[in-house]
């Protein structure tokens, strides 16, 4: 299965833990696409730096649009206003780190 890696920037008024980020993502994905859709995305959190608010996630390349739409739809994390911006997308981790996090 081909994969896509996404670099994210988390903007929130309060610190966001890895657990909160993952559960916010899954909740939105389930709301938008249901369990059948969620089972197809192959989502995984690869790297997260809460201090810088930077994260890298992985998904199936066929589900890229679904994952981007879900990430964009997140407006709250832990009942506090938040936004997650996709800063880069790549087919390899190395290229993504070079492109988005440099």
């Amino acid at each position: 299965m081909r994969k896509r890696y996404l670099a994210l920037r988390v903007a929130s008024e309060q610190p966001v833990s890895e657990r909160d980020l993952t559960s916010a993502f899954w909740n939105t994905l389930l709301q938008l696409f249901g369990e059948y859709g969620a089972s197809q995305v192959g989502f995984g959190l690869i790297d997260y730096n809460p201090q810088k608010g930077q994260a890298i996630v992985r998904c199936s390349h066929k589900a890229l649009e679904m994952v981007r739409a879900s990430i964009t739809s997140i407006t709250e994390i832990n009942e506090k206003p938040a936004a997650i911006h996709v800063t880069g997308v790549s087919g390899t981790l190395r290229a993504l780190r070079k492109k988005a996090l440099s």
Binding site: A11, Q31, L32, R68, A69, S73, A83, H85, V86
Partner: protein
């Protein structure tokens, strides 16, 4: 490079700090042109102040006025009074009469439908045909989609899907805007394009709705508001004193 446009920021005009933050955020997200909803009685020096804020963030400000008329008469009166003072005029269509009048009036740039209820949205074939002749565009505020949830979001997505299909068939330009009242509702142009996937807009079409289509509208209106504009296709290129042979 593609120039992205967010034609609908709705910060509080009294709070200049918040406005500055939102304009800066818009610039960080990759936009070059930003439209801010202004009150009709705004003064020239206040607009200059806003232009300075935008210039500092390397953004181009588009002055915009949103009408929420209750009657057809009110819409026509407002258009007559304010059309020449603002670069973009949007009409929030809250009834079918207003929607039809707004769609056929060439002074209206954007048709907006604030309701998530299908009965409160009037963008059907007839509306689209009128809009297509009058060169008005259908505006989709993404804040409405981001802030709704559950059944109201399901209804909204279903309406947007139908409206986008009608707009595409009858060649009505679609403009995607943020409609954000605070910075947590703002997203980058590519993020909006991926959200537009939810109502069947392909990424190239969505990106056009965030760049070429709104930009063409702004440029057309700026041309019309310039003192050199006479009528469609005719403009003054030189005045009496500038002509060496006269």
């Amino acid at each position: 490079m593609r120039k992205f446009v967010d034609l609908h920021l709705r910060p509080s005009i009294e709070n200049l700090d918040e406005m500055e933050n939102m304009v800066r955020k818009s610039s960080e997200l990759g936009y070059h042109v930003v439209g801010i909803s202004l009150p009709p009685d705004i003064k020239r020096d206040e607009i200059s102040q806003l232009q300075k804020i935008c210039r500092d963030s390397k953004m181009d400000l588009v002055t915009r006025l949103d009408f929420v008329p209750k009657t057809r008469r009110e819409l026509l009166d407002n258009l007559r009074r304010f059309r020449r003072r603002f670069e973009v005029i949007s009409v929030m269509c809250t009834s079918k009469t207003i929607a039809r009048q707004a769609a056929k009036d060439r002074r209206v740039d954007l048709l907006s439908f604030p309701s998530t209820d299908p009965r409160g949205r009037f963008f059907d074939d007839a509306e689209a045909e009128l809009a297509s002749k009058a060169l008005s565009s259908l505006e989709i505020d993404m804040a409405l989609l981001l802030s709704s949830e559950g059944f109201s979001r399901i209804r909204l997505l279903s309406c947007l899907r139908k409206e986008v299909a009608i707009a595409k068939r009858l060649r009505v330009p679609v403009v995607i805007s943020s409609g954000a009242t605070h910075k947590h509702l703002m997203r980058g142009p590519h993020d909006y394009a991926s959200l537009a996937f939810l109502f069947n807009m392909t990424p190239p079409l969505a990106l056009r709705a965030l760049s070429e289509d709104p930009l063409a509208m702004v440029e057309r209106n700026r041309g019309k508001l310039s003192p050199d504009y006479v009528v469609e296709g005719v403009r003054i290129i030189r005045r009496k004193n500038d002509c060496p042979d006269v």
